[in-house]
């Protein structure tokens, strides 16, 4: 049972102005006088009395506000028809525990607890109410999705959602539906009002909440001091527009409302929603990563990897040390196989995307994790398709597994000279493929390169003349440097360095010949005597 304090506020017969006419014993005091809540000081804006006299029915104000003293529920009734124009009475209920929320206001009205009669309130002490505490689960499915999206969008922006409806009872129902759609503590953290007197002011400064704008009583500010025109939604006119991001957030919430049911405040609710609904255009925050570490599940993961920046998002998660359950998610997330196939499958035909995807994934992991998390699962798929290897690190990891090299489509070489490079070089020298793109990188380790090239040349079965031509034409290194390397290799076909000289101009050729003629001649199989004779007599260099 919750103990609820109550107070009646209005104008007393002693002309002391607006004040607390009666309150229960536990009603808070401020500077020794009963607390007069800000929310109970005003009701209809000035000028409303003329509308009432003209026949417009004054609204009944039902508000719920979080305050420093707890959750405050206010029921306001206009008394201008029976008393002085502009006066009203406010019946306030205060839940010091802060558990009551807008959802309770409607019930309390139905139960007759909140006073809604158009009569002068009596003064005197009031009893403390006892209301049973209830637990309810959020029911977002009962409210229109577009309205929920609009509300969540406003919560994310920390601005109020203002609605205008023609029918007051339907407005109340809509308000109740929205209140029931959100987690209980989030509802208690928002303000709710079925009548907003000054929409412009509220839009500018009231913070997150939900309010209803009623014609002709809701007014704009005086003296041009408003904070700008308020954006007021009209649910009666059809679907309410909401930004894409808000719709995504709402969809996340609708997918798993239970996941957010224990949110303790608007701030936490929105943060969790935003963290678990990944925006392809925004980087993930540390807070979001922390939440992902605990809560990443199939749905979240699907959003993670299927967005425009899915790969970058994945990389962020991996970089933060989160373990991604590829294997378990493979069947749980329908989009995942397709996405993974797009990154590694040969049929997708987007080498740039594949290269980028693999680079992002691999740059976040060391070789051990890469082997464990990516390479090994990928190696299991070679029976299904022939994965493309577009990242050197991944290639290195894959090359260490016991899988035939032919199972992959190698678009890059491994870090070091190994079977993959040998295979690529052999394929090139035999004329099946173009020269490997980053073969020149391997020349940094000169000894390994020479050994590897010798090994590859051993395996080449093409005619020596063809091999000589391929090697001589390779543009990966400057000619003189390439010739130096070729001269060090044992298995290079005779005359290959001399053939490579053909890519130089006459001056360059002469310079190389003067310096290295003996070695070039020896590699080409020219006897020393002949070589000397050619040098002195024939060539005169």
């Amino acid at each position: 049972m919750a103990e609820i304090q109550q107070a009646v506020i209005g104008w007393g017969p002693t002309s002391n102005g607006l004040g607390v006419l009666g309150a229960s014993a536990g009603w808070p005091t401020v500077e020794s006088v009963p607390w007069l809540p800000e929310q109970a000081r005003t009701f209809l804006p000035r000028g409303s009395d003329a509308e009432v006299v003209r026949g417009a029915e004054p609204p009944c104000g039902l508000d719920a506000y979080p305050t420093d003293h707890g959750t405050l529920l206010v029921s306001k009734v206009y008394l201008g028809r029976v008393g002085r124009p502009g006066t009203f009475t406010a019946h306030c209920l205060l839940d010091p525990t802060g558990h009551l929320a807008a959802t309770e206001v409607l019930d309390l009205v139905r139960q007759g607890v909140l006073r809604t009669g158009e009569e002068q309130p009596e003064a005197g002490p009031l009893p403390v109410l006892e209301l049973p505490a209830r637990r309810t689960r959020p029911m977002p499915e009962d409210v229109r999705t577009d309205l929920l999206a609009a509300l969540i969008g406003h919560l994310a922006d920390r601005t109020p959602l203002l609605m205008r409806t023609a029918d007051r009872s339907s407005a109340l129902e809509t308000l109740g539906g929205l209140a029931r759609a959100l987690p209980r503590k989030v509802v208690a953290d928002l303000w709710w009002s079925n009548f907003v007197a000054h929409p412009d002011e509220v839009a500018g400064s009231a913070g997150p909440g939900v309010g209803v704008v009623l014609a002709p009583f809701s007014a704009t500010n005086d003296f041009g001091a408003g904070g700008g025109a308020a954006q007021v939604l009209e649910p009666d006119a059809g679907a309410v527009a909401a930004p894409d991001r808000a719709r995504d957030l709402a969809q996340s919430y609708l997918d798993h409302p239970g996941r957010y049911a224990d949110a303790r405040s608007v701030e936490e609710f929105v943060t969790r929603l935003q963290a678990l609904t990944l925006d392809p255009t925004e980087p993930l925050t540390d807070q979001g990563l922390d939440l992902l570490a605990d809560e990443v599940g199939p749905v979240v993961f699907a959003r993670l990897v299927t967005g425009l920046r899915g790969m970058a998002r994945l990389a962020e998660v991996v970089r933060a040390g989160r373990r991604l359950p590829y294997r378990e998610l493979w069947s749980a997330v329908p989009a995942l196989p397709d996405t993974m196939y797009a990154w590694f499958g040969p049929g997708q035909g987007d080498p740039e995307r594949q290269e980028r995807a693999q680079r992002i994934i691999c740059s976040t992991m060391d070789i051990r994790n890469l082997t464990r998390l990516v390479a090994r699962p990928l190696s299991h798929d070679v029976g299904t398709y022939r994965p493309v290897v577009a990242n050197r690190k991944l290639a290195t990891a894959l090359s260490r597994l016991e899988v035939p090299l032919e199972a992959y489509e190698w678009r890059v070489l491994t870090d070091d000279w190994g079977p993959v490079v040998t295979s690529a070089v052999v394929s090139w020298l035999e004329g099946w493929t173009d020269p490997p793109a980053d073969l020149a990188r391997l020349t940094e380790d000169r000894r390994a390169f020479v050994a590897g090239l010798d090994d590859a040349l051993d395996q080449v079965s093409a005619p020596a003349a063809d091999v000589r031509e391929q090697l001589a034409e390779w543009p990966g290194l400057p000619v003189e440097e390439w010739i130096e390397l070729l001269l060090e290799c044992r298995n290079v076909p005779a005359g290959t360095p001399l053939a490579a000289l053909g890519r130089l101009d006459r001056g360059g050729v002469r310079q190389v010949l003067r310096r290295d003629w003996p070695r070039l001649a020896a590699q080409a199989g020219i006897p020393a005597a002949v070589a000397d004779e050619l040098r002195v007599r024939g060539l005169a260099f």
């Binding site: 017969p13 002309s15 000035r46 124009p85 003296f223």
Partner: protein
């Protein structure tokens, strides 16, 4: 005048603090003058402006109007047109709740603006452009329906600005800025400061009380209406509290603030007034007032002062602490209370102009009007009889 008053932030700023913008919110600066032009202008100012000079000024003024040039204070508030050309005189209505401050203001404005009651005295009033909405909504419409103005909310209310034109000073119009806050806001100094930012800058105060704030003994020959007599009447305490909280807010003000103490709803005191030598007498609203202002105002102050001296000594004492430049008025905004339907049977104001006239006189704003009294009737006679 310390500067120009922003009617929204209630702060005086120097002219240079304001920034001018066009209607498209683009910064605007007046066309610059070369050094010879400035010299020529100074010489002409000494020798007297020519027609060409006046044409140039008019042309520039028209250009500013065409562009919608307006000024904004350093806080970004848009100043009403012409506010930087005229003095602004804030007048505060001080008093507890339900002493008919708003009703008085509504009726006064209706009389001086709508019905031009003071035109025979050479004064005409128009509601400033930005205040017209408030004027129409809060004051004109309720009176047109014979309803009292709505209860003023316990919130910061917008001021109402009226432009006063005086025939004897045609180029020197004045803005009268009335601010009317909820009576509950005067309960303590903190509320007063929060809800009535104009208190600290006001140039004139109207302090309100009503018969329910006075104490009538058995032998006074008068009793309050049934229902609010005796122990249920609010008494003088709320008025004293309002004055004290306003005085606390004004603690740093050293200049005397012309103050009019208004005993409102004086129609309820008609039996007491009937005992006076000349009951119901009011100041004539014509130029006969000029020349003997002090005499008229002092005569009108006599009975209300006696009322307070006999039945509201606490109020009187607090008023004297509040200001040394004080006059007393007994007025009734409507001349009657509302009937059972919440409507006024008729609206017959009693002496509602006098508090304003007293303030204007004490502020020295009627200086020079006597010349009008000498000149105009003779000219009028010439027109009719010459």
């Amino acid at each position: 005048m310390a500067g120009y008053l922003c009617p929204q932030c209630a702060v005086h700023y120097r002219a240079g603090d304001f920034t001018a913008y066009t209607a498209q919110s683009e910064p605007w600066t007046p066309p610059g003058l070369s050094a010879p032009q400035r010299v020529a202008r100074a010489v002409r100012a000494l020798l007297g402006a020519t027609q060409k000079d006046r044409d140039r000024v008019r042309h520039q003024h028209l250009e500013e109007l065409r562009l919608g040039v307006h000024h904004r204070c350093p806080q970004g508030h848009r100043m009403p047109p012409e506010f930087l050309r005229r003095e602004t005189v804030p007048i505060g209505l001080i008093g507890p709740s339900s002493v008919s401050k708003s009703t008085f203001l509504a009726v006064l404005l209706q009389r001086i603006v709508g019905m031009t009651d003071l035109a025979p005295m050479g004064m005409t009033f128009t509601v400033e452009e930005h205040s017209r909405g408030i004027y129409q909504r809060d004051y004109v419409t309720p009176l047109a329906m014979r309803r009292p103005p709505e209860q003023t909310r316990l919130e910061r209310t917008a001021p109402l600005v009226v432009r006063m034109h005086r025939d004897w000073a045609p180029d020197d119009d004045v803005n009268l800025l009335f601010f009317d806050a909820a009576g509950e806001g005067y309960r303590d100094a903190r509320s007063s400061a929060e809800l009535n930012p104009f208190l600290t800058v006001m140039s004139g105060a109207l302090v309100f009380c009503s018969p329910v704030n006075l104490a009538f003994g058995q032998r006074s020959g008068f009793a309050l209406p049934e229902g609010i007599e005796g122990a249920t009447a609010p008494g003088a305490g709320s008025v004293v509290a309002a004055l004290q909280s306003a005085r606390t807010v004004l603690d740093r003000r050293r200049d005397p603030i012309p103050t009019g103490v208004v005993i409102a709803k004086c129609d309820e005191l008609a039996p007491l007034e009937a005992l006076q030598p000349r009951p119901g007498q009011a100041i004539p609203l014509d130029q006969g007032f000029y020349g003997n202002e002090e005499g008229y105002l002092s005569r009108q102050s006599r009975w209300p002062y006696e009322l307070l001296a006999n039945h509201g000594q606490a109020i009187l004492a607090e008023v004297e602490r509040f200001s040394l430049l004080t006059r007393y008025h007994a007025v009734s905004a409507t001349g009657c209370a509302v009937n059972q339907l919440g409507l006024f049977e008729r609206i017959s104001p009693i002496r509602v102009h006098e508090p304003l006239l007293g303030l204007l006189y004490d502020r020295g704003m009627l200086a020079g009007a006597e010349a009008l009294k000498v000149g105009t009737p003779q000219a009028g006679q010439g027109v009719h009889h010459g």
